[in-house]
């Protein structure tokens, strides 16, 4: 009995833990007043994240909450609100987690500084290396020469 329970619970645990997206498309047919609203709505549903789901935007997710969020987005778009207003509305309720485009914070600034630093340091090194080499001779060192020679001999030997 104990074993059965153990088995069943491990079963349940595994099923619960299995995270895969629901692969049925979430499709609504909203009507818009104009093309700009249509585009804004589709753009927003792509950059807003469904908080309940795995990593999916609210356009792709079929979860009930994603549906509510789509409806809300639609309602706000129809009211004539701008992208920033709608994103702010969502962030007020669900926090920055809901937007795929992170705001500037003391930490997210590194997303931009990081690559910039790599590029700056990289180019600095490149300049330094080429500058230094001007006063350096370029012969291969002895050990390396010997090694290549033996390699060659081995090659010929085969």
């Amino acid at each position: 009995m104990q074993k059965l329970k153990c088995f069943l619970s491990s079963f349940a645990l595994l099923t619960l833990c299995f995270y895969l997206p629901l692969a049925s498309a979430a499709i609504d047919t909203f009507q818009f007043d104009n093309k700009a609203q249509d585009q804004l709505f589709h753009h927003l549903t792509k950059i807003l994240r469904c908080p309940k789901c795995q990593n999916q935007n609210i356009a792709d997710s079929n979860a009930s909450l994603a549906k509510d969020l789509r409806n809300k987005t639609y309602e706000l778009v129809k009211k004539g609100q701008s992208k920033d207003q709608i994103v702010a509305y969502m962030v007020e309720r669900y926090g920055n987690f809901i937007r795929y485009d992170p705001p500037m914070t003391p930490a997210t600034i590194f997303l931009w500084i990081g690559p910039l630093l790599v590029i700056l340091i990289g180019f600095y090194m490149l300049f330094e290396l080429t500058r230094k080499q001007k006063n350096q001779d370029l012969a291969l060192d002895d050990t390396e020469m010997n090694r290549l020679k033996t390699l060659l001999k081995e090659n010929v030997g085969k």
Partner: protein, 656 residues
Amino acid sequence: MIPEIGQFTLVVACMLSLLQTVYPLYGVQTGHQGAIKSAKVLAILQFVFVSAAFLILSYLFFVNDFSVLYIAMNSNSLLPWYYRLAAVWGAHEGSLLLWVFLLSIWTAAVAVMSKRLPVESVARVLAILGLLSFGFYLFILLTSNPFIRTLPLFPVDGRDLNPILQDIGLISHPPILYMGYVGLSVPFSFAIAALLEGRLDSAWAKWSRPWTMAAWIFLTIGISLGSWWAYSELGWGGWWFWDPVENASFMPWLIATALIHSLLVSEKRGVFKSWTVFLAISAFSLSLLGTFLVRSGVLVSVHAFANAPSRGLFILAFLVIVVGSSLILFALRASTVKSRGRYELVSREAMLLVNNILLAAALIVVLLGTLLPLVHKQIGLGAISIGAPFFNRIFSVLIVPFALFLGVAPLARWKRQNIQDLTKPLIHSLIIATIATLLFLFIFATHFTWLALMGVFLGMWVFSTVGYELCLRARHRHSLFTGLLKLGNSHWAMSLAHAGFAVVIIGITMVQNYSIEKDIKLSIGQSISFEHYNFTFDGIEPLKGDNYTGTTGIFTVHRKGHFVTIMHPEKRIYTVQKMPTTQAAIDPGFTRDLYIAMGQKLPDGAWTLRIYYRPFIRWIWFGPVFMAFAGILMLFDRRYRHKKVKSLVDGENASC
């Protein structure tokens, strides 16, 4: 009984891998020839035993032995045989077995194909590979054993493989991608062996290069297969989502690409050696990091495995030991490495370094973008998400210098390039590229956007410089035609790979700027038109598969009044897991894809539908095919295998 044999062979393989680490290293230390030579034998034995374990698990899936827990969880009596076999790697435990199995293939390949290398070096490399295998064997045996039985219970039937995985993509994508991930362990082991030995020379770069190239080929194909699979299977028509799991595969690719280029410089010119070693270590470290991210559940991802903290802890410990010690070893040994080559600021070396710098910057973007949400939350700044809007923006900036330099670099000479000599080719290429861009946009673009102009121009720029360079080199000594024939494989490989990259840029640009997406409601008999295409909803039919039922929609497509095709999107419900899935219908084309996914039936009998027009999306996958083919060409370059050693001794004249 058979599962127990499987487990036993796995244990033996584990022991052998440990032996493969310890004994050869002992031999290298003491000069014991037998111990040194044992490395090859042990590697091959290990391969034999883990293959046996893998075959046994496959067999158990084939006969659907539901007394094995892993099979009971991931198979079903209704599941077709080919999906049963692919289900071996359909979940965590089996995919790890696939991982070590592939690692043993690479190990055995190194053992067999390294006859030209000094035996001590090979012994060291195999010992390091053995150590990596040992870690993974322990991981499987301690936390993720696929051979565990459900006994004394005997389930009547299995819970079935997750319906989303029941696709051709599952058969091909994981093995190929893993082959790439795991393959990076070879240049890693070469790098560590060279550091241990204290011999970082051109010969080391020469040995590593084909292995890196081979792993890179698999990685390239694996990633694009994954992208294609997501596009065709997941029902929302995206081809890249910047999900942590996708990023985990993209990061090693970025570094492996940098590594291929810097190995080239290290081999031919003897410079950047410590940087190259660092890249070799990083590439495999990132593939291990990816494994951790996918299997530990620290990040929210669409396609994560089932996870338990013990597993995460184990991989993290493994990661710290392997990567941490490698990086420390690197810091200690690389500080003594000196580069002796001389090159100037305008030279092919410098431009290849620029390529490396930009790839490293791209890596930092992806790495930070993937890990920062975790850090952000832990340092108390709250949960954030970093997704497509951010990555797309920063990548569309980084790609500009990358593609521009990519065009120039092959035209430049090693050591020193006179700027004046570059002016003519560059101006010519610029003119050709501009004309081609305008023509292309005039024919294929529906409206003008600056991003599209830039993207297409970058692609055309790469095309025209690649073409120009080929002509230039061909006509160097011969007439154009004989010259082209005389160019070596590796030269063609370079040109082809770069052209493949241009194909990808153009594909991405067109898809991102000119896709049309329609979410609509359509009743049977109605039709909708856009982009000269007309879709008519002819009706629906019931659908019956081996292990699912559902509905098929029938759509006739016309373009400007001419019949194009009939499309059959499906809505399936898998019998066992009761999961509804959308099987989109795709009409692929060279310049455009049409895509229909069915939503749900509305009360009035109409259906909600998603119809996409995706221009040039195939190019996103054609490009990687070019690149992979280029890699294969490079591997089969005879010149590269024999003559290059000579040119190294000459110390120069190693122009591609």
